[in-house]
């Protein structure tokens, strides 16, 4: 029985539709997520109650717009409160969530809105490739033409060499997450794919093919956090965060000891498990950072869902598919739900919030009580892990 002490409680959550959202600015997408969070929580009086905001946003290049904290507060109708952008590449809103946990625990803000946003699809693939690469090392990686898929491809090549992981095993991650996405009305891709389609898609950075890569997406997400003792004031069904960990690693992949494991994930997970008094086998449902299929396989190993080198076999086994022992990425993950980078961390928490409150509809994991999210920045220079449990 997991009954870890709540650090903070989630009393509401919102998610914009993910996809190609033409004609909208990031701040408008953010307002869409915020509207849902407000609607879900009628007892919240936002202007009175919300005392601070942290908003994950990776790149000002997309819209020629920085200063996202204030812009998001403005469009959320929450002007005058402190509103700060957090940036940790694709872990920007995982970092926003942890900042919100710190703020609530500090006692300085008893209700905090955390979230994230990115508007990407109006840019060309070449532009997005270049902007995403900014999360990697400039003078040695970007400078030598190493793209973001390229960095994960280097990990994939090394993992295949060390453990015999196969392209078929990676394709199984894509097929599973597309299946889950087909059950999520907010996912960018709601169509199932076949193993063959995944394996014959065009090469992006060998051995990674198009279907090994997450999507270019517009979207926003948010959560409303409060002190556990205030949670019941706002909802009868809070979800408690019982463990939180974040760690950093060298900005350059080449400087890391291992190419087959992310040390930042391991450290963040250890910290979160220890805080929550939870073991990997206690987790009922997880959202992990599948920016590439190999990343989900490595995440299984680093988070402790299987031993080092066995992530490929776990992907192939079906145990992480809905109906399996430990469903992973029931939302469709970054792969099918989509990856608006700054929004991803709190979008993962949104899915766990739905799962632990029994609101995940066709993709509901039966009796889910303990959830985990794992959000990675760059090629692993940042990782955040959060552990959640339902009230009962």
């Amino acid at each position: 029985m997991v009954d870890g002490k709540p650090l903070v409680s989630i009393v509401s959550a919102g998610l914009s539709k993910f996809g190609k959202r033409e004609g909208l600015y990031a701040r408008e997408l953010f307002a869409e997520a915020v509207k849902e969070a407000f609607d879900r929580c009628p007892r919240l009086e936002p202007k009175r109650d919300v005392k601070a905001m942290f908003v994950g946003h990776m790149g000002e290049a997309y819209e020629h717009q920085g200063h996202t904290g204030a812009a998001a507060a403005d469009w959320a109708g929450l002007l005058n409160i402190p509103a700060t952008r957090t940036e940790a590449a694709c872990a920007s809103s995982g970092a926003a969530l942890l900042s919100g946990v710190y703020a609530v625990l500090s006692g300085l803000a008893d209700v905090v809105l955390v979230g994230g946003v990115e508007k990407m699809t109006h840019r060309s693939t070449a532009e997005v490739t270049e902007y995403l690469a900014m999360a990697s090392d400039y003078p040695f990686e970007q400078w030598h033409g190493i793209t973001f898929p390229g960095l994960y491809a280097l990990m994939a090549t090394a993992h295949m060499h060390a453990y015999g992981t196969t392209e078929v095993q990676m394709a199984h991650v894509a097929v599973k997450n597309h299946y889950h996405g087909s059950l999520n009305p907010k996912a960018q891709m709601q169509k199932e794919i076949t193993l063959e389609a995944a394996l014959t898609s065009r090469v992006v950075a060998s051995p990674l093919k198009l279907y090994d890569c997450s999507l270019i997406t517009d979207g926003a997400s948010c959560l409303i956090l409060t002190k556990p003792e205030l949670a019941r004031r706002f909802t009868d069904q809070p979800v408690h965060i019982i463990g939180a960990g974040q760690a950093s690693d060298s900005i350059g992949l080449y400087e890391r000891q291992s190419l087959t494991s992310l040390q930042a994930t391991k450290l963040a997970a250890q910290k979160a498990y220890q805080m929550a008094q939870v073991k990997p086998e206690d987790v009922d449902v997880a959202e992990v950072h599948d920016c590439f299929t190999i990343a989900e396989i490595i995440a299984y190993e680093d988070i402790g869902f299987c031993r080092a080198g066995e992530g490929g076999k776990l992907a192939e086994s079906g145990e992480t598919r809905l109906g399996g022992r430990l469903p992973v990425n029931t939302s469709g993950g970054l792969k099918a739900k989509g990856h608006p980078v700054g929004a991803t961390g709190t979008a993962q928490a949104y899915e766990i919030y739905l799962q632990l409150t029994g609101q995940a509809e066709r993709r509901q994991v039966k009796d889910a009580r303990v959830g985990l999210t794992h959000n990675v920045g760059g090629s692993g220079a940042t990782a955040t892990v959060h552990i959640y449990r339902s009230e009962t």
Partner: protein, 133 residues
């Protein structure tokens, strides 16, 4: 080998343009930094010496990039990899002179300084690359 040159990434590339692969060695704990750093990440030492290191090593991972950013699109598909040098340090870069289907983890490579000149101002210098040993 010690010089007055600053222990910076720019200086590392200047040495490369002279055909030298230079690392910074921490005078306190002995850790070798490639590229050099102004503050030792191991012991926070602040005194360093330059040392020339061998450009020979082996390939520890590789990929062939097909979807490239704008400035590399003319070269795509191109191979990049991470080399482990003889002293154990690693360096990423492009791999030239090897047919893509013949790339193998463990193959012997050497750092090629041929394309490194200081003809253009930092940070516009051409890049080093890796070629078969």
């Amino acid at each position: 080998m010690s010089t007055e040159a600053p222990f910076t990434i720019e200086q590392f590339y200047k040495f490369l343009a002279q055909g030298k692969l230079m690392a910074g060695k921490c005078m306190r704990c002995g850790k070798i930094h490639l590229p050099p750093r102004p503050l030792c990440d191991n012991c926070h030492g602040q005194e360093f010496a330059w040392m020339e290191i061998s450009g020979k090593g082996t390939l520890v991972s590789f990929t062939v990039i097909h979807i490239a950013p704008q400035q590399f699109q003319a070269s795509a598909p191109y191979a990049v990899g991470i080399m482990q040098l003889e002293n154990g340090l690693k360096l990423p870069g492009m791999i030239t002179g090897v047919p893509h289907e013949q790339l193998r983890i463990g193959m012997a490579l050497t750092v090629d300084f041929g394309a490194c000149t200081a003809a253009q101002p930092w940070p516009q210098w051409p890049r080093y690359c890796f070629k078969p040993a």
